[in-house]
Subunit: 345 residues, 4 copies
């Protein structure tokens, strides 16, 4: 099955390339980059030398759809909303890794993204691609809105407990930390090595576009409006997201009981690993892999639950989950091509 990648020179694309290249049923058809069309892929990314030397192409919906069986869009915000309609009209399935089709409310999109949303009729066709939660819908969908990196870690960490009535739903605080690849390959002073190395910074306080995305997922599952506090930090490392999540428990519940709840919730989901009681996961322990690892701790002094959830932002937070969704869409085992161990250390 041939896969096209649009947005070929960003880190999402390069990670898709790595994962497609080792997937037994997928191969790379076309790689589209309007800005670099004509160059060889391996000129821009020499680590591909001798392996993927093909030229980058300009976007052309017709020829793309003729030569490929599926399309991944790893484009900046506001781009895929224009491309996806042309592709769907050509009858090809699309996985969009940007935020363009994630929010159902056009008002919310404009409020948080500060530009125009996709057309409503296409938004309605999109399935939110959080594989563990929406697996059944994903199987029959033609357009996947692949989740954001932070929302993946945050909602997988929260959903098992959020669906119970053990917690005060107003108390949810997500303190999120990300490696720098999350900021992409576009040049910016905030990704400049000398500014970000040996530094820790918080950014976009109260204004991150992943806030409404997390709230939308929680509300879908809980069926009542939820407002969260979500703070993002940039950590001087390449890959990895950790969400440290705080929720107040309404009554005394042992960590033990919550631990069982999580184990039960994820028992059929091999990519979510609930860690042994008394331990919490580190970001390095999922590096390069599609795992989301979760640790739990209840503090009896405050009756507050702390959830630690970690992913590799480029894998489970982007390209890996996209492949997982393609596996589901094609009826393949969801671990196909994704079963490798994390790279350690």
């Amino acid at each position: 099955m041939k896969a096209a990648i649009i947005g070929g020179t960003g880190y999402g694309s390069i990670e898709l390339t790595r994962l497609i290249q080792k997937h037994p049923f997928l191969e790379i058809g076309s790689v589209v980059s309007n800005s670099q069309a004509g160059s060889n892929f391996s000129d821009i990314y020499p680590h591909l030398s001798n392996i993927i030397d093909k030229p980058l192409e300009k976007f052309d919906a017709n020829s793309l759809c003729e030569q490929n069986d599926i399309v991944f869009l790893a484009t900046p915000s506001g781009v895929s909303s224009n491309l996806v309609p042309q592709l769907l009209d050509n009858g090809i399935k699309c996985i969009d890794l940007s935020g363009d089709f994630r929010l159902r409310s056009a008002e919310e999109y404009e409020l948080w993204y500060k530009h125009s949303p996709a057309e409503q009729k296409f938004i309605k066709k999109a399935t939110y691609g959080l594989s563990e939660i929406y697996g059944e819908k994903i199987k029959t969908s033609n357009l996947i809105a692949n989740p954001g990196c932070y929302p993946t870690a945050a909602t997988l960490g929260l959903l098992p407990i959020a669906k119970t009535d053990y917690i005060d739903q107003k108390s949810i605080i997500i303190d999120a930390k990300s490696g720098v690849t999350g900021a992409g390959r576009s040049l910016s002073i905030t990704s400049h090595y000398a500014e970000i190395n040996e530094n820790l910074k918080a950014y976009k306080l109260g204004a991150h576009q992943h806030i409404p995305e997390i709230e939308q997922v929680l509300q879908d599952e809980i069926d009542s409006p939820i407002t969260i506090t979500f703070t993002t930090h940039l950590v001087p490392m390449l890959r990895g997201i950790m969400c440290t999540i705080y929720v107040n428990l309404k009554e005394n519940i042992a960590t033990n009981e919550i631990h069982q709840l999580y184990n039960e919730f994820y028992k059929n989901h091999p990519f979510v690993r609930v860690r042994l009681l008394g331990t919490v996961p580190e970001t390095k322990e999922v590096l390069g892999s599609n795992y989301c690892d979760i640790g739990l701790h209840v503090d009896p002094r405050t009756n507050r639950l702390t959830i630690i959830s970690v992913i590799d932002n480029l894998v489970k937070g982007a390209a890996g989950q996209a492949i997982q969704n393609v596996n589901l869409m094609n009826g393949w085992d969801e671990q196909t091509g994704l079963a490798d161990l994390p790279l350690y250390p």
Copy 2:
């Protein structure tokens, strides 16, 4: 004035050495390291070559007190509780950078530190050395319990608002992140480069010995019992602590008003810099300096205040605050020897 340093080969000592060496009124008298006595200081730390080549000494209270005017103890937990009494009896003033004299309650000390506390009569002599808050007491004290790194950042960030009745005192959550120098120079798998680089980990959930220290400071100022949630993380960088602090506001208060409150609170304290509204500090912006920088944000959606507070853990969180306290104890300007700009980048 001659200063002795006990615990000469840890990072606290080496930072004290740097700061004493550039202080106009202090010079290094003795450097004590029982484990390395006899070696030259510069053999162990070659960056001192040609500058401080003196031999390390064994601990001897009498000769120390004869040859020095003040003593800094930068020893592991449980050591200074035995040394300080001998030194005070010799009539010399002590600044203890360990936790041995910080907690007033012997029960709390044993509970969190898991070993025996210092003698109660010496604990009573100690003044908690948070310079901005206890400056007056510090001036006349003979024994300073220099604050922990996390408590310094956390309490300076919290105190101005904690003293008001704007907040729900049960809602305090401190999500703290530290560079790796905070773990000291003792070999450990958790400080092993290959394990910690490109990694983010949470540790000691609900069990960090700085929890009762922070609570004690808050309770002193607020006059009612307080229980906080405090989570620590290790960030792959050398220096720097950030506390991201969350508190629920009881009523609607604008960021603006809280900003004025903080500015007023710290107007006579040059080492605390309240940042412009709309901005938050990064750890690199205080590197190598004694500043504690604070940023504020109120989220109107949740009516929750987020406080970002950063320090260099080895300076304001240890050696720098120790020098600041010595300045206060001697009636010198508190910025003496501490006025250098942060090292950037």
Copy 3:
């Protein structure tokens, strides 16, 4: 085919585990760690949770050979010299990742390693496992002395030109730089995060045990004694080795001509990628992969050739080359299980 790993808790073993786990014809049989026997592998390395939870075993030659078809030894220097004889006597093939069977001369071994060499009769059975050069011998060997990380990068960079008479053989200088995983998982002040991060250091000047190994390989191919200068540096990163190699050319030869020589030399060796003229490889471009990338530059001002050669020290410099050798020994395609793209960025 079942593979045993001896020395189960070092980084060589953990990388072998990753590569075996994704190899289509290999699976992990036993993991031996005398110091940690009884613990689960995933207790020590939580990134293996839910995937490889098996207990670590004590070394027992008989049971190992019964339950496995091949043995990898990733033990510290001086250990496998005692274990390999027992294993060979049991009729099982061994790949030794340590230096114990690499040097043919017992005197040289003692001189550089400072302890006793393996028995001469077993050293004679060993084939030096530099896959691209000794592939034919490897195919029929029962004992592989898997090359050191530095010698792999250095000799693959040097051999094509060293075999010609274009160069002054006395002029060879190898300035080598390595990431910190090369120093292993044993605790040491030189692998302590705070000492090695944001630092660059040279070490073991003129005394590195890889010097005689490199000279032995060069001499074998050139048939005359060679003495090199080889300097190693520790770079604050996890993985990657770069050798910057300098040789004086005896006559004027264009980079172009040398480039063709290298391309010809490696045309049937997919893991060595000679880079386009005018470009040189970076260590990140081979991260996590079995590639050795080589760049070439002739400076007409000095008539000196500079060769840049990079590998991932844990893959082509250790576990990857071990797998490549097993592929050769079994008549499998040498890329089996090793064809994944580098992890970038």
Copy 4:
């Protein structure tokens, strides 16, 4: 004495700011940045908050010279060649940190810098500011061409031996490694965090503009033409340069003897520290300081001398040496304002 800084938002300027601010006889007069004029200095560099909040100015030679006593130019290549003439004509002394006035030969400048050189009559007025070597000339000069970072480390490492006839002058190879701050604050894919972190790369092989600068210094001292091999590498750290220098000895000379030669050569130069025999310096050991530390090793197997020389590229390689030169120009002790210990770790 008031100092102006031109090029106010680069890392050279920000390091000058730090050093001037702690210098007892200097204070910051004007900070010029044409691109950011009007902004406050602390808006762009918040670590200056509350300390240096002054607005950035446009360049105006007259007003600059009225309000200041000395001018530092930390501008990109090709800028100061136009500004310095205006400033000298106004009678003010200039320290140029760029390469514009370093090379005496206009042809060489054009060849290596690929643009037009400064006017010859101004180049003739310039003194090359390698403080330890040209101290006497510097004292009476009005225009200092402050040395490049690499040439400082390379020539201080080489000069004592290069001036003897112990070495084969054709054999000089300098393998240089630098932290990323050397690449400045301009955005570039080669300074993009995700590309440079966990990576080691060689760059500008045979084409670095510091080659003719190093050769010029060596030739001045040796009085015969010299051609060197010089290779630069980018190391994933902020600050620090190491030059690993290889030279062939013409006869057998003990390390001991060379060590004495170096000690003698630098005995009156406190910023050059020749390390104890058997040890070599690490870059972290000079961090934030003006020291150049040198280690020596003779390999009796090859009769080759290896010299390891380290500096902080922003201090002894730029701003610190500029201050050292100002000290010399004013008859102050050359250590004035520069005596602080390195920041460790």
